[in-house]
């Protein structure tokens, strides 16, 4: 695994505990360094458009966006909608990572072309397993679309 070139993961998560647990899970595949954490929807869009605090970040899209739905300022579904409407961003794989089983959210996400919809398990090991699997698949196994920049 160490030989593999890491691709960037954008984690959009406002809950610091969830963020830490997610990072903990990703650490098992040594993916922690690849993660860029933003704490609300507005910052996620700033990152993607390279503006505001992220104006100076290197060019290129993340290999995957792990997107919470309930977010301050701009919620996850709106972020997803903007990504899918933008010519340069629309091919980025987006995985919704949410606490909710709400069918409404699930349907809305798939209608907006989400690549995967994952309900965060409450039980720690299940959670770790789920996030590990996501990290493994999207950051390592999956071949991202052109325009994705690797890290390292």
């Amino acid at each position: 695994m160490h030989a593999v070139v890491l691709k960037r993961i954008l984690l959009v998560e406002d809950n610091p505990n969830d963020a830490e647990l997610t990072l903990e899970a990703l650490a098992e595949h040594n993916l922690t360094n690849a993660v860029e954490l933003v704490k609300d929807g507005a910052l996620a869009l700033d990152y993607l458009y390279r503006r505001g605090a992220y104006a100076g970040r290197p060019d290129g899209n993340p290999a995957v966006i792990l997107l919470d739905l309930k977010l301050p300022k701009i919620n996850g579904l709106e972020v997803l909608q903007q990504i899918r409407a933008d010519e340069n961003l629309k091919r980025i794989p987006v995985v919704v990572l949410t606490s909710s089983h709400e069918e409404k959210d699930m349907v809305a996400s798939y209608n907006l072309g989400v690549n995967a919809y994952v309900v965060k398990p409450v039980e720690f090991h299940s959670f770790i397993d789920a996030v590990k699997a996501l990290g493994l698949f999207w950051a390592i196994v999956n071949e991202p679309p052109p325009g994705t920049v690797s890290q390292g």
Binding site: D18, T98, S99, S100, K120, V122, E123, F124, F127
Partner: protein
């Protein structure tokens, strides 16, 4: 009544026996069968009039103790219709005139008795005619009285007006309800005075049309009633026609104020009801929206802290576990256990609330297949358990497939759970036809429950076993009952401790 066929009943006031006999002979010769009673005193004459009916009275003018003038007066008083013929010796012309004025029918001189029979015949004819006329008059009188009574007894105002609209006749109800100002006779009023001022023109026009048209019609009018209050009447009139000419109107006025008010009240009530329903619906929709956003928040926000509790407890164990004694580790495990239990609770509560909010989409659902699938999954999760599963084939119902699955999953998971400590565990699913319709059942031979508590079973958070015995949140059966009821069905549970339980429910076809 016909004197020729029946015996002619004659009362003879005559002191001379031979004269009386002569009268009888005279009558019999003329062909009258004759019953003649002769009296010669006032007392006997009066008694005879009281006791019997006579066809004719033949009275002498002068008697030793009585006289014809007095007898005539008494006859007119006691038997006014009986012809009274004076039969006498010579009387003067003045006397005769006096007698005729006093009501005598005729007089016959004893020396010209040949006049007697024609006089009687004429008197009888006249009497018959008088009697018939009087009977007709009486019948008319009775008829008039009868209709006058009806007219006055009717509690509805009735009236007649002439072509100028003046009242000719009104009944008692009219006087009592519409009436006139105190002191005025109704009949001195114009009919148009009874209307509310704004109604008078319309009433006049209506009156004119009615007089010229003739047909009956009903119209609603505002009328000033006796107390001064305005009330609504339906006035129905028709023209009175004499020799092809209208001479007035006859009508009936029905007070419909109360009826109208009741109708208005019903209308307003209905309006109010509709408004209240609309308001309630709005409030309910608001409450539903609130509930929806509430459960949305619950679904997101209540679970996130649990994940932190469970996650960090585990991380704590992972990273510092080696330095902890078994008590500290036990506490951390309990923290994790409690957070998982709470998660299950939240899941079940959300399920319960979704059950009520989601729209019902009925279709044919193969419950047998569903039961087989659920029990298959349970078996996969607990491969070590050996459960005898009996599922009746082809049990179908008209139900929401998602909700039907929730029902079967809850009932079968319960059966699975409560047979966990039973040797030779057995779970059955099937349907039976009953007079009340098809009943579905899930039966097990597990722990059962105390039948005295069966009523509590379906209340949320009601548990009949401790969590140590059998884990659970106590929400599953509440959810099941709610789903069954939303389908118009019912559910009941029967059991005995240690002898298993059977849950029976119905899912009636939609009407």
């Amino acid at each position: 009544m016909t004197p020729v066929s029946d015996a002619l009943r004659v009362l003879s006031l005559e002191d001379d026996l031979r004269d009386a006999e002569l009268l009888q002979v005279c009558l019999e010769e003329a062909g009258f069968a004759c019953e003649l009673l002769r009296v010669e005193t006032e007392e006997a004459f009066s008694r005879a009039l009281d006791q019997r009916n006579f066809d004719v009275i033949l009275a002498d003018y002068s008697l030793p103790s009585y006289d014809g003038i007095s007898a005539l007066a008494l006859t007119r008083e006691k038997a006014p219709d009986v012809p009274f013929i004076l039969v006498s010796g010579t009387i003067g012309e003045e006397r005769a005139i006096e007698l005729m004025k006093g009501g005598a029918t005729d007089y016959v001189l004893k020396n010209s008795l040949s006049r007697l029979v024609p006089a009687i015949r004429r008197a009888l004819d006249e009497a018959g005619e008088r009697r018939r006329r009087r009977q007709a008059e009486q019948a008319l009188c009775e008829s008039e009285a009868k209709f006058r009574d009806f007219f006055n007894f009717l509690p509805i105002p009735l009236f007649e007006v002439d072509t100028e609209g003046r009242f000719l006749l009104v009944n008692r109800a009219f006087v009592d309800t519409i009436g006139a100002e105190a002191g005025d006779a109704v009949t001195s009023m114009s009919a148009f005075e009874i209307f509310a001022p704004e109604e008078i023109d319309r009433a006049r026009e209506n009156f004119r049309v009615r007089l010229s048209g003739g047909a009956t019609s009903s119209n609603e009018f505002l009328v000033r009633t006796r107390g001064g209050a305005l009330r609504t009447f339906i006035i129905t009139t028709s023209a009175i026609v004499r020799e092809d000419r209208p001479v007035g109107l006859r009508g009936i006025a029905v007070d419909i104020t109360d009826r109208k008010r009741a109708e208005e009240e019903v209308f307003l009530l209905n309006l109010g009801l509709e408004q209240r329903v609309a308001e309630r619906t709005l409030a309910l929709e608001g409450a539903n929206r609130e509930l929806e956003s509430f459960s949305y928040s619950v679904s997101h926000d209540l679970r996130a802290p649990l994940r932190s509790i469970d996650g960090f407890a585990q991380l704590f164990l992972d990273e510092f576990g080696s330095g902890l004694d078994h008590i500290a580790k036990d506490y951390l495990h309990r923290i994790r256990g409690a957070s998982r239990q709470m998660n299950t609770l939240i899941e079940d509560l959300l399920q319960l609330s979704r059950t009520s909010r989601q729209a019902l989409r009925r279709e044919r659902v193969d419950l047998s297949a569903l039961a087989r699938q659920i029990l298959g999954e349970l078996h996969c999760g607990h491969p070590e358990r050996s459960v005898d599963v009996v599922i009746q084939d082809d049990v179908v119902a008209s139900a929401d497939p998602h909700l039907a699955a929730v029902v079967l999953r809850n009932l079968l998971e319960n059966a699975w759970k409560f047979t966990g400590r039973t040797d030779g565990a057995r779970i059955e699913f099937g349907a039976v036809e009953t007079p009340a319709g098809r009943e579905f059942f899930v039966r097990d031979n597990g722990a059962g429950f105390d039948p005295a508590c069966a009523g509590k079973l379906f209340g949320p958070f009601q548990r009949l076993h401790t969590t140590e015995q059998f884990p659970g949140t106590g929400i599953g059966l509440a959810t099941v009952q709610r789903i069954v009821r939303r389908h118009g069905g019912a559910i009941r549970a029967e059991a005995r401790p240690g002898e298993g339980a059977v849950f029976t429910f119905t899912l009636p076809e939609e009407k």
